[in-house]
Amino acid sequence: MSPDTNAKLIYMANQIATFFKSQPAAEAAEGVATHINKYWEPRMRRKLFEHIDHGGEGLNPLVLEAAAKIRRPEAA
């Protein structure tokens, strides 16, 4: 996996979190999770989880909070 595309994925996840952070607090984490479930291909979610499992450095806390609700794809 190229470090470049990994950084991009983190960036994308954080962008999504930034939007939902401005929404009413009760909906924020749910919003991030639903969005990622709906639009992220399993490969992308898998990479996201790999990163979270390695500490999730650089991820917006809201992404980490949402992680429990993001569907975890089976290992490749």
Partner: protein, 960 residues
């Protein structure tokens, strides 16, 4: 076959609901009040002779040929300028009328050359027709006296009244010797097109049509829309193609393949040769008008660069090898099979085209889903309007524009955001300008002073020249003004929207930090302008918002669309004519390609792939099981390719290397793939990285449908055989058969039937129904059998309209000492998108290259003069192009178009994208500009690579 016949009623229809009954030649007829006698007669089937009248414009009353007599009234009024009155009795043919008309015709003909037999208009000349209609038998005066016909008198002296032909426009000629000074051209330019390029100069017998300030056409303000040519009753203004070929013998109604307006045309043919395109008056998007691209720029379809045979090559450094279709299909099938076996089912995908038909798009997504067994299908709409889909779906419940184009006739305040309609959507712009001349007000929100801010007879009430990237801040500030000044339409909101969501949103926008005074610091727009614009939109009557790529192509594109929807809801501007939220779609079938399930997470009709009931419909019909996980979007495909997990791509009719941002990243992604299949008319830029090239067909060569920006499904009709042998849908079908799918569509109408059977919003659509109706706007089903010109009429599709907070987040693409300027991009009228088609027509005379617009102040600081080569650099890369110094752009902002591949504007753009949809942020890039001597290294390398990769074995190098 016959010519499609259109009746010219002489004057426009009256909109009055009051009816008037009168008698014409003894026949009783009832028409709306305000109708002209000429039109009433025509409706009764009586054609009064006329020369200066046409129903495309208001009556003028100059030719005096259309006289009639009215019982009990003295004189002979002109029927084109005289309205009907109850109970009058009109005669259109009496001895007195006959004599006067003959006299009028005699005068016309005595100053008109009598070379009818060799005239280009022979067979299509209203002067000829009228001479015949009035029974003109001889002309007593010759050309011995004063005339415009002869360059020299019989005695050999120079005739100062004569003027030579103007052939400067590539598509039509102006021959003053044949002009009868009826003013139809002048009025068409004013009333239909709204450019005001023509005038009648001189007086009386000396009067003459003049373009601009007595310039030739091509140097004047003329935008070459052709409305004057269509209006001219003689051969004075004539298409060069008609001069060259002759009059057409049959015609077929079809749809323009350029922009999202979706103009209807009659393709006028002689055999399989296209003689000319004439906008169709019954076309409900364009009402008989068009722009230069649709009417004239079709020459690319027979351009020598068109590739007509399939080609393959092992490596992208090899020359191309022409093969048979069979070989090409077998090769692609075996490569895709090998790659899927080796790298997994998800290692391949497809890209559908917003230039191709709905039917073709549907087949490509079906090929990916049913054939490849994954959802890796995306469309070029990703890079333009995907945020529209997301934003409107969240707020209103469906991702389409809310109005038809006719709606603009009822608009009082038009807000134009991040769109440049006079260049991007010219026919809509003409209709908008017409409404503005009738008194509607304009608010323009755009970093650049576009033509609509100020041009002939148009002046915007407000222009908010915001800094690129601050759309959300401006729109939220407008909402702040509306809410805090008590201008919200609470009755509408209570009835149609979720009240508690509204309260939450209203409290959010009311925060002081959203006030125009606070946002001024980063938007650069004076607060009083924002306040004024917000008040005008909220209180000025029917408010309609039209927006384009300047809204969507930002990292906050989706948020901006939501902000627009919020504004429409808070002011109650939804659900009736004259209002609404109107995305102006770029390419002809952006709407259709989105509707047809081109997105990796959606099946046709915007239904999520995870929805079991929807999948079930398609699984049963297609006999496969579908993957319920979303697939990769274009940028994700390229990332996955760089990661080594994505290896093969079938691209129909798109040029992602030129149209997608961050060219180097796209190139790296493509280069990492093992089988790239490009299906297109030309060896486009993406084809430099392709292993297989499948030649495509043009819109003239296939049947199908396009769906325009107003959700209107228009028929595309084949007028000639595909030069490459197969229509694009046939190519996809054969490819599907090669990979083992049992597809047997005999005609695109069968594909549409499948779409209708599976997609509720298309339930009633069929080719028979479209033939009957002309066109329909989806949803078109049992609930709306006539289609839906306006959406959300009795309530929002999602139930209650949803207000969503829109927090402004500055893009991470920021200016700094190294890159102090902001680059934004756009398009111009004569060229289209990546220009693959328009660059291969005579339209290049208007835009031979992309130029960098820069403010005089920034130019001076850098020692740049107008026309100098400049180096344009960003964090991603650099390119060179020539400068154009203008104060249309604000200091600190530079602007360019992206129509020419050598410019490589996308080497500059970054890979930042919209947070929700990954739509690239084309509209903001921090750059530096400095003087330069010529092309950059990258441009030179790129050109060389492109030249190498276009070699075809056994052929001379294809010239670009």
């Amino acid at each position: 076959m016959n010519m499609v016949h259109e009746i010219d009623y002489g004057t426009p229809a009256s909109k009055s609901e009051k009816l008037v009954t009168l008698t014409i030649d003894g026949r009783e007829i009832t028409v709306p009040e305000g109708t002209s006698i000429m039109r009433a007669a025509m409706e009764a089937g009586i054609e009064v002779p006329k020369l200066c009248a046409s129903d495309m414009m208001d009556a003028f009353g100059s030719c005096r040929l259309c006289l009639v007599e009215i019982e009990g009234r003295a004189g002979m009024p002109a029927s084109c300028t005289t309205p009907v009155a109850p109970g009058i009795s009109v005669s259109t043919q009496t001895q007195r009328l006959k004599d006067v008309r003959r006299g009028v015709m005699e005068l016309y003909i005595s100053d008109h050359p009598l070379d009818c037999l060799t005239c280009a208009a022979n067979g299509d000349c209203e002067l000829q027709d009228m001479a015949g209609a009035v029974g003109l038998r001889d002309v007593r005066y010759g050309y011995d006296g004063s005339n415009h016909v002869k360059a020299r008198s019989n005695g050999g002296e120079i005739n100062l009244k004569w003027a030579p032909k103007d052939e400067s426009n590539p598509y039509f000629t102006y021959d003053p010797a044949k002009c009868i000074v009826c003013s139809r051209c002048v009025r068409a330019c004013e009333e239909v097109q709204g450019t005001f390029a023509l005038t009648i100069g001189g007086r009386g017998f000396d009067s003459r049509v003049a373009a601009g300030m007595n310039e030739d056409f091509v140097s004047s303000e003329c935008v070459s829309c052709g409305a004057c040519v269509q209006a001219c009753p003689t051969a004075t203004l004539t298409e060069k193609s008609v001069i060259e070929i002759g009059q057409p013998e049959h015609s077929v109604v079809t749809t323009c393949a350029y922009c999202g307006v979706g103009c209807s045309f009659k393709a006028e043919m002689r055999g399989e040769e296209l003689v000319r395109m004439v906008p169709w008056k019954d076309g409900q998007a364009n009402r008989g008008h068009s722009c230069v691209k649709g009417r004239f720029a079709y020459g690319y379809s027979s351009h020598k660069d068109r590739i007509l045979n399939p080609m393959i090559r092992e490596k992208i450094t090899d020359p191309w090898r022409e093969v048979t279709w069979e070989e090409a299909f077998t090769h692609v099938a075996s490569e895709f099979r090998r790659i899927q076996y080796q790298y997994g089912r998800d290692s391949v995908g497809g890209i559908t085209s917003s230039r191709c038909t709905n039917e073709e798009t549907y087949l490509v997504q079906k090929l990916v889903r049913a054939g490849f067994g994954n959802n890796n299908v995306d469309t070029c709409a990703r890079v333009c309007h995907s945020p529209t889909g997301y934003g409107l779906n969240q707020t209103f419940g469906t991702s389409a524009g809310t109005q038809d184009f006719d709606s603009v006739e009822h608009t009082d305040i038009a807000v134009i955001i991040g769109a440049n309609p006079t260049d991007g959507h010219p026919v809509f712009a003409s209709r908008l300008k017409k409404r503005v001349r009738e008194g509607a007000k304009l608010i323009v929100i755009d970093p650049r002073r576009i033509d609509l801010v100020r041009s002939a007879h148009v002046e915007a009430s407000y222009h908010l020249p915001l800094k690129p990237g601050t759309n959300v801040a401006i729109l939220t500030s407008m909402a702040h003004v509306i809410v805090t000044e008590g201008l919200a339409n609470e009755a509408f909101i209570r009835e149609r929207c979720d009240w508690s969501e509204y309260e939450d949103w209203a409290a959010f926008v009311a925060e002081p930090y959203h006030s125009p005074e606070a946002s001024e610091a980063y938007t650069g727009v004076p607060a009083d302008l924002v306040r004024g614009a917000a008040r005008l939109y909220a209180t000025g009557g029917n408010g309609a918002i039209y927006y384009g790529l300047g809204v969507t192509e930002h990292s906050q594109g989706s948020t901006t669309v939501m902000a627009i929807a919020n504004l429409a809801m808070v002011t109650g501007n939804i659900g009736r004519p004259g209002v609404g939220v109107n995305p102006l779609r770029g390419q002809n079938n952006v709407q259709g390609s989105c509707d047809m399930g081109s997105f990796p997470h959606e099946l046709p009709g915007y239904r999520h792939i995870s929805d079991d009931a929807t999948r079930d419909i398609f699984e049963k019909l297609w006999g496969v099981s579908l993957n319920n996980e979303p697939g990769l979007r274009i940028p994700n495909m390229l990332d996955a390719a760089v990661d080594g997990t994505f290896k093969a791509l079938y691209i129909q009719g798109e040029d992602i290397l030129q149209s997608d941002p961050d060219t180097k990243h796209v190139a790296a992604g493509l280069a990492a793939m093992e089988c790239v299949v490009v299906h297109d008319l030309f060896l486009n830029e993406t084809a430099n990285y392709a292993h297989v090239f499948l030649p495509g067909s043009t819109f003239l060569e296939k049947d199908g449908t396009f769906t325009n920006a107003e959700r209107r499904i228009n028929r595309v009709r084949r007028v000639m055989r595909p030069k490459n042998g197969y229509a694009d849908w046939e190519v996809t079908q054969k490819l599907a058969q090669a990979i083992g799918l049992n597809w047997n569509y005999r005609h695109p109408s069968e594909i549409m039937d499948e779409i209708a059977a599976t997609t509720p919003t298309f339930a009633m659509v069929s080719y028979d129904y479209l033939d009957k109706m002309g066109s329909v706007q989806w949803p078109c089903n049992e609930k709306a059998p006539l289609g839906s010109p306006i959406m959300h009429v009795d309530g929002f599709v999602r139930g209650k309209g949803k207000f969503i907070r829109t927090e402004f987040v500055a893009t991470d693409e920021k200016t700094g000492p190294r890159f102090p300027l902001l680059l934004t991009t756009g398009r111009i009228l004569s060229q289209y998108n990546v220009g693959a088609q328009t660059r291969r027509t005579d339209n290049v005379i208007w835009h031979a290259e992309d130029r960098l617009e820069i403010h005089p102040h920034d130019a001076e600081q850098r020692g740049i003069r107008d026309g100098d080569w400049v180096r344009l650099a960003s964090r991603s890369g650099e390119t060179t192009l020539r400068s154009l110094i203008t104060d249309r752009v604000a200091p600190g902002v530079v602007y360019t178009t992206f129509h020419h591949p050598t410019t490589q504007a996308n080497v500059i753009t970054t890979d930042f994208t919209d947070w929700a949809t990954n739509c690239p942020e084309y509209k903001v890039t921090a750059v530096q500009v400095s003087p330069s001597n010529g092309p950059s290294d990258w441009q030179r390398d790129y050109d060389e690579q492109a030249r190498q990769s276009r070699r075809i074995a056994g052929k001379l190098e294809a010239a670009e």
